[in-house]
């Protein structure tokens, strides 16, 4: 853990070396989130409420997935640039070091420009939590926390699969964006807005609705208490992700000399 913070501060310092550019990156990433918020705002402005949801409830759901995504992106960014690591043979160096591979990949790169987004996301959650008029209790607060934590673990799992695929294709595959940027973009609204098919997909295949739609029903007092457990249950998703990663490593043949 100490080693991790060491890496963390190194990355932070190296990005701060070009302060102007760093702040512009932060502003750019913040702007993307603000755009998404503006999108929600414009739709609410035009339509009043959205289906069965009030503005606060929509924002709560959006804030959770957004924060989760940015946490995952900030810390697991190493997997995002993984195709480069494999192609350039840098992975060889990782294999020979006496530390866990996942740990090392995580330490390779971090995206500090996501930090302001995490703050903004938390603010959105707080605002949504107040505006939705939910009567907060300790179990409900815990469910909310588990939504964010499990959500970022799910995204982490997707990154892991993405990296595992790089062992086979050498090139990042664009369609994985469906599971990262796509899920993040479309989580602007609770997943049932898109119809039953999408809700089923995001529950059973890529269980993002298990950290957003279902527990949200519990928080709003519309669903059964078991829905509050769904974020934790969704973590089954990490098992196939981990297996894919193991398979990828076994398939790895060095490119270097």
């Amino acid at each position: 853990m100490r080693l991790y913070w060491k890496f963390f501060s190194i990355h932070l310092k190296s990005e701060m070396a070009y302060p102007a550019s760093f702040f512009l990156s932060c502003a750019g990433r913040l702007l993307l989130t603000i755009n998404a918020l503006a999108g929600i705002g414009l739709m609410i402005w035009r339509f009043g409420a959205i289906g069965d949801y009030t503005a606060g409830e929509v924002l709560l759901g959006f804030g959770v997935v957004m924060t989760a995504f940015n946490i995952a992106e900030c810390f697991a960014r190493g997997f995002d640039v993984f195709s480069k690591i494999v192609r350039e043979g840098t992975f060889d160096r990782l294999v020979v070091r006496p530390r866990g591979l996942v740990f090392q990949v995580i330490c390779q790169d971090m995206r500090m420009a996501s930090l302001p987004n995490i703050v903004l996301g938390s603010l959105v959650i707080l605002y949504g939590a107040r505006a939705s008029g939910i009567a907060w209790t300790v179990p409900k607060a815990l469910v909310l926390l588990s939504m964010v934590a499990c959500g970022s673990l799910l995204f982490f799992g997707v990154f892991l699969v993405y990296a595992a695929l790089c062992f086979f294709t050498m090139e990042g595959l664009e369609f994985i964006n469906i599971f990262t940027d796509g899920i993040r973009t479309f989580s602007q609204f609770p997943f049932d807005i898109y119809g039953k098919g999408v809700l089923f997909f995001t529950t059973a295949v890529m269980p993002m609705a298990m950290v957003q739609y279902w527990p949200l029903q519990y928080l709003m007092g519309k669903g059964r208490a078991i829905y509050g457990m769904f974020p934790v249950l969704s973590l089954w998703f990490l098992i196939p992700c981990w297996l894919a990663w193991r398979l990828g490593i076994r398939h790895y043949a060095s490119a270097g000399s």
Binding site: Y18, A20, S21, F22, F23, L24, S25, A27, G28, R29, L31, L32, N35, A36, A38, G39, L42, M43, W45, R46, F47, G48, I50, G51, A113, T169, E171, L173, E174, F175, N177, I178, G182, F186, F189, I193, Y194, G195, V198
Partner: protein
């Protein structure tokens, strides 16, 4: 001139090579389009009278938007060119007896066109098979279609010119990543990528439409959907031409000034 066309051909063909990437891109675009249509369908069912565009026009907007992603996507620039400026390898390019601006523009055009070629047909075919208000609008008059094509060509030009302007700006900065994230983020909102511009409140909509970003995908997509028609087409296309000329001139001037000042270290 011949050197530029052959450079264009090389990059065009190179872009067609990656079939797996094209296939993956096709699925991504299809998924994206489908999700957007589903989203707007929910609003359409909820309160159809509050939708500022006809559902059919909106669906056409979304499908053509997905099919032509590579034409207007400001995120789609080439990292290599930024890095060429940053690392100084741009010096190699300068030893060639060609104009850098034209060369890189040809490269941008080629890359974007070849990516579009591999995607647009399947996306349009699938979307035209969808049921009525959610698929692609197929009844379009020939003059409007020509106006659409012309406007889309201007979009491509403007997008390449904007990218060139950003590459040029790198000559004046030490790190490119800032521009790399900031400009597309602004464009995402103002170009109608996130939400078609008619959804905006009046003042914001006016600002977005007049800004250079509003002359990107916004114009051809809305011409196709029938949302911009008649004299509106002339006005919108005129504005597109204006921005194309301005951005190209500015980018060209900045690049040449940057090249004159640039000091390349190393031997």
């Amino acid at each position: 001139m011949r050197q530029y066309t052959s450079f264009f051909r090389i990059h065009f063909l190179a872009g067609l090579q990656y079939r797996a990437a094209a296939f993956a891109g096709f699925f991504t675009q299809l998924f994206w389009g489908l999700m957007e249509v589903l989203l707007f369908r929910a609003f359409y069912r909820y309160a159809p009278e509050r939708l500022p565009m006809d559902m059919q026009a909106l669906s056409s907007y979304i499908w053509i938007q997905q099919g032509t992603l590579s034409i207007w996507n400001l995120f789609g620039w080439e990292r290599e060119l930024f890095q060429a400026v940053q690392t100084g390898s741009v010096a190699y390019e300068l030893t060639r007896p060609t104009d850098l601006y034209a060369m890189w523009s040809a490269r941008g055009l080629a890359g974007r066109l070849s990516k579009t070629m591999t995607r647009i047909i399947p996306v349009l075919v699938v979307s035209s098979l969808l049921p009525a208000p959610y698929g692609l609008r197929l009844t379009i008059s020939f003059p409007v279609f020509l106006a659409f094509l012309f406007s889309m060509a201007l979009t491509l030009w403007l997008c390449v010119a904007m990218c060139m302007l950003c590459y040029s700006l790198t000559f004046y900065m030490t790190d490119y990543r800032g521009i790399f994230t900031f400009v597309p983020a602004v464009a995402e909102l103002l170009s109608g990528d996130l939400l078609p511009l008619p959804f905006f409140p009046p003042v914001l909509r006016k600002i977005a439409e007049l800004s250079p970003f509003g002359s990107l995908q916004n114009v051809p997509l809305r011409i196709f959907g029938g949302d911009i028609g008649g004299v509106g087409i002339l006005r919108a296309v005129g504005l597109q031409v204006f921005w194309c000329l301005c951005v190209t001139a500015l980018g060209y001037a900045l690049m040449n000034r940057g090249l004159r000042r640039a000091v390349i270290a190393g031997g």
